[in-house]
């Protein structure tokens, strides 16, 4: 635990060193929220309700989903790929802790930084300024946080998998881009999943991607009953464990093939 804490801390400190660049990142997210906000505002001009969403709820959906999915473009797969590409992976492999542990500490550090400097401020400010609604209730609010926490586990494993592919391709720019685009769409980060054809939406609901945006935001808005929310979060946990097992198996195979570039 102490080891994890110090890895989280050093990742947090590293992020903090680039706080100036981070303001631009926040600005970018704010702009994307505004764009989607106006888009939906236009839609709601001609109607009161869309698939059970009121305009106010949709505003909250936009704020939360854009903020949560802004995590998709970053993540440790970038750094992981760079380690492999430049050969620094050798240093990380020689640390006395498992590479996955090392990466997880880093990821959590980045997540807490995200939460503190982006998630919470933008969530509150966005909701207040654009006139969204608060959480459906205290229990929903807590479950929302639990769901977001679990989603980091899912996201982490996906990022690791993308990083591992860089063992083979030695470059993941294309892959990283595909990852962030696919995750945004499949998780409900671009538009709510109910806009997909019903059969597709039903499948997407149960895939791990939904766990990263749809499940936490629906929980927050009270679109799920408490019981539904808990079972969806349970499903997330199952996905998280399953992905972990798969990715680790993939990792064990990949590590044998590691070619360390550059001397």
């Amino acid at each position: 635990m102490e080891k994890l804490y110090c890895l989280i801390r050093v990742a947090f400190q590293t992020k903090f060193a680039y706080i100036k660049a981070f303001w631009f990142n926040i600005f970018g997210t704010a702009v994307s929220i505004l764009i989607y906000y106006f888009l939906w505002k236009y839609v709601f001009m001609s109607r009161e309700e869309l698939h059970g969403f009121t305009a106010v709820q949709m505003t909250t959906y936009v704020v939360l989903s854009r903020t949560l999915s802004s995590q998709f473009s970053g993540g440790i797969n970038k750094e992981f790929a760079e380690w492999v590409y430049k050969g620094n992976i050798v240093v990380e492999l020689l640390r006395p802790v498992h590479l996955a542990f090392n990466l997880f500490g880093k990821r959590l550090g980045e997540f807490f930084f995200f939460l503190l400097f982006k998630g919470i401020p933008i969530g509150i400010l966005g909701t207040l300024l654009l006139g969204g609604c608060g959480p459906a209730g205290v229990v929903e609010f807590l479950l929302f946080f639990v769901s977001v926490l679990v989603s980091i586990g899912i996201l982490f494993w996906i990022e690791v998998a993308v990083g591992i592919v860089s063992f083979f391709t030695l470059n993941t720019y294309g892959l990283a881009f595909t990852k962030s685009a696919l995750l945004s769409i499949l998780s409900g980060g671009v538009v709510p999943l109910f806009l997909f054809p019903e059969s597709v939406a039903r499948v997407l609901d149960y895939l791990p991607f939904a766990g990263m945006v749809t499940v936490p935001v629906y929980t927050y808005l009270g679109k799920y009953s408490i019981q539904e929310a808990v079972s969806f979060i349970g499903l997330q946990v199952v996905w998280c464990v399953l992905l972990g097992v798969l990715v680790m198996a993939f990792y064990q195979k990949a590590i044998k093939k590691v070619v360390v570039q550059g001397g």
Partner: protein
């Protein structure tokens, strides 16, 4: 035996260069590989507390061997045992007892003060607080990093970074330390300090060292034994002094004289002696010791002119190694 390497082989697959455009398109779908043998049947053993120079020309398989010793790369065949354990299967366990220094990479965190990086290492390696403080205190002065501890690594110069990295490799009292080009690109002051520090660690703590370097002053001042590899095979494995004695083939003699009788000639009067350099008042000769005795050469010169000053030098280890490589390569 702390490190045992037997019949070690590592092969890489490398994509074949396509011969024409058509082949290039074909290879996008079904790449052709050629097999490259980077390490070919290497054997050696290293005792605890030994300091070994692992040398050879660029691309001879040095780093590949080190990476297999540390468990990062899996050998194609053959066996590596470090402290009786197989590195690829016990990587974390072995990592705890080894330190590693890469001349061109850092183990520290780029954006945080050095001391913060050290604290992370302390936790990861589970170094007791007291031991950590003692080591830090001791290293801070020997290697001169006391003023650097509060500075983020990205603001340090190359030499300062290297010193911080070397200290980092010793914080957890490792039993084995791999030094891969530890003084690459450093000024002589930094080099000296780093060598001094490493030697002290070897003498006082009996840390085992494997040093790879192209700087033979590093090797000469740090190691007592050299393993020379070329084309992935061990060419020489012996003590430095023994190598110097056995492979020494030439001696250099430098004269200062009142006037130089060989100024106009290209060839020296004796067989097996070549003129390396000449001015009206000095002469530098190289003699092959199998063919001619250095004292006889001195004798010859002294008969032709008046010698003011003289120095005789054996070959340094660098040129000996170079000769072995070119001869056997």
């Amino acid at each position: 035996m702390q490190i045992e390497v037997s019949h070690l082989v590592k092969e890489y697959k490398r994509k074949k260069n396509p011969e024409n455009m058509l082949a290039a398109v074909g290879q996008m779908f079904r790449p052709k590989y050629e097999i490259l043998r980077a390490v070919n049947d290497i054997n050696f053993g290293i005792e605890k507390g030994e300091a070994v120079g692992y040398v050879g020309p660029n691309g001879c398989g040095k780093s590949t061997t080190i990476k297999m010793l540390s468990g990062v790369l899996t050998p194609t065949s053959g066996k590596v045992l470090v402290g009786g354990l197989e590195p690829t299967k016990n990587r974390q366990k072995i990592n705890k007892k080894t330190g590693i220094v890469f001349g061109n990479r850092s183990v520290l965190w780029w954006d945080v003060p050095i001391i913060e990086s050290y604290k992370v290492l302390q936790k990861l390696y589970e170094i007791p607080e007291k031991r950590f403080q003692e080591n830090l205190e001791e290293f801070a002065d020997i290697i001169g990093i006391r003023q650097l501890l509060g500075v983020p690594e990205r603001q340090l110069s190359l030499g300062q970074k290297m010193r911080c990295n070397i200290a980092a490799a010793f914080l957890h009292d490792p039993e084995i330390v791999y030094l891969d080009e530890p003084t690459i690109g450093l000024d002589s002051e930094s080099k000296l300090r780093i060598r001094e520090f490493i030697r002290q660690m070897n003498e006082e703590r009996h840390t085992t060292f494997i040093v790879t370097s192209h700087d033979f002053q590093d090797i000469e001042s740090l190691c007592k034994r050299i393993i020379l590899i070329n084309h992935g095979e061990v060419v020489v494995d012996d003590g430095i002094q023994k190598i110097q004695k056995n492979y020494q083939s030439k001696k250099q003699i430098r004269f200062e004289m009142d006037q130089n009788p060989w100024l106009e000639t290209e060839k020296f009067t004796m067989d097996g002696v070549t003129i390396l350099d000449k001015t009206p008042y000095s002469l530098v000769l190289e003699c092959e010791i199998q063919k001619v005795d250095a004292m006889a050469v001195v004798d010859q010169v002294s008969r032709a002119c008046q010698i003011l000053d003289i120095s005789i030098q054996g070959q340094d280890i660098e040129s000996i190694i170079r000769e072995i490589v070119t001869e056997k390569g």
